[in-house]
């Protein structure tokens, strides 16, 4: 079982395809759940505490806007945990849950620089492209399984 970061981090299709293969998709909803179950915070979306931009300093410099650092405090731990990543590019406007283009760029940059296998795909628009996307994801996941077995 490999922990795979997905981008957008709340994608239904990516998360589902990985779960079908028995892997763990690192989805943002789990992080959000942790946050909202914290008894100290009772009012999301105003749930960025003063602690978050400080935590975000691990991923972004002090000059970076606090909005990016606050978001990175939630997404960052997922990137740290990732053993592989699937990034979907060219998605329609409004796709994804981050709501910040710079955070998106920084997260993808960190995933690419992490020295883990990364599969980059383009958002499909028709049947053939979707077939190709599903095939590529399945091949990628199978190759991860093989390397996992070899390491064992």
């Amino acid at each position: 079982m490999v922990k795979i970061a997905i981008y957008p981090p709340n994608s239904l299709i990516l998360a589902d395809l990985l779960e079908r293969k028995g892997h763990t998709p690192l989805v943002l909803q789990k992080q959000i759940r942790q946050k909202i179950k914290d008894p100290e915070i009772d009012s999301p979306p105003m749930n960025i505490t003063e602690e978050d931009p400080i935590k975000g300093l691990k991923y972004a410099a002090i000059e970076v806007p606090s909005g990016v650092r606050g978001r990175m405090a939630i997404i960052g731990p997922l990137i740290d945990e990732a053993e592989a990543a699937i990034v979907v590019d060219g998605a329609p406007y409004g796709f994804g849950c981050i709501g910040c283009a710079r955070t998106n760029e920084l997260s993808i940059f960190l995933l690419r620089n992490k020295d883990i296998p990364v599969l980059e795909l383009t958002y499909p628009t028709n049947q053939d492209e979707t077939y190709a996307m599903v095939n590529e994801i399945n091949e990628f996941v199978d190759s991860l399984e093989e390397t996992d077995k070899e390491e064992e």
């Binding site: 957008p8 709340n10 994608s11 239904l12 299709i13 998360a15 589902d16 395809l17 779960e19 989805v27 943002l28 909803q29 789990k30 992080q31 959000i32 759940r33 942790q34 946050k35 909202i36 179950k37 008894p39 009772d42 009012s43 999301p44 979306p45 105003m46 998605a91 329609p92 409004g94 796709f95 994804g96 849950c97 499909p124 628009t125 028709n126 049947q127 053939d128 492209e129 979707t130 077939y131 190709a132 996307m133 599903v134 095939n135 399945n138």
Partner: protein
């Protein structure tokens, strides 16, 4: 909008339990089951779950062990058309529930977008096949020139 942002909901013990998770179940286009069948099947499992019928399928909430068990069983109904996804907030949470807000909840728009290609994903899972995609290339300059000249000549 201010009441949405400052709402301090009165949550029950289950809402604070870190082991209680929520999952959304989507029924893709062309599925052989209906939302009602999925919900009935969840009830028939006899697990301690909160089950909600929705327009896209259903939503279940409960202890993670029960939720994963229920999902495993429900996928058997139509493995290629039933998709599931985590959800951070519990069903009916006033901070996200549409009933307490003025418009679709966050996350709905992406769900809408992904639903458009969900049918293709189901087809790909049902009948896997190799496809070759022809990459779109820009028109060659010489060819463009030729076509342009032809058009100009025809015009004269």
């Amino acid at each position: 909008m201010s009441q949405n942002l400052t709402m301090s909901p009165d949550l029950g013990t289950e809402d604070w339990d870190p082991d209680v998770i929520t999952r959304m179940i989507f029924i893709g286009p062309g599925a052989h089951v209906s939302e009602q069948e999925v919900v009935s099947e969840f009830h028939m499992l006899g697990l301690p779950l909160t089950i909600k019928n929705t327009c896209y399928g259903s939503m279940i909430s409960g202890k993670s062990e029960d939720v994963y068990k229920a999902i495993e069983e429900i996928r058997k109904l139509d493995p290629n058309h039933i998709f599931t996804k985590e959800r951070g907030f519990a069903p009916g949470d006033p901070r996200r529930c549409r009933g307490h807000r003025f418009g679709p909840r966050e996350g709905f728009h992406q769900m809408e977008k992904e639903y458009r290609i969900l049918g293709f994903v189901s087809n790909a899972l049902e009948n896997p096949k190799e496809v070759e995609i022809e990459e779109k290339k820009p028109v060659d300059v010489d060819e463009f020139k030729k076509i342009m000249n032809e058009c100009l000549e025809n015009k004269e």
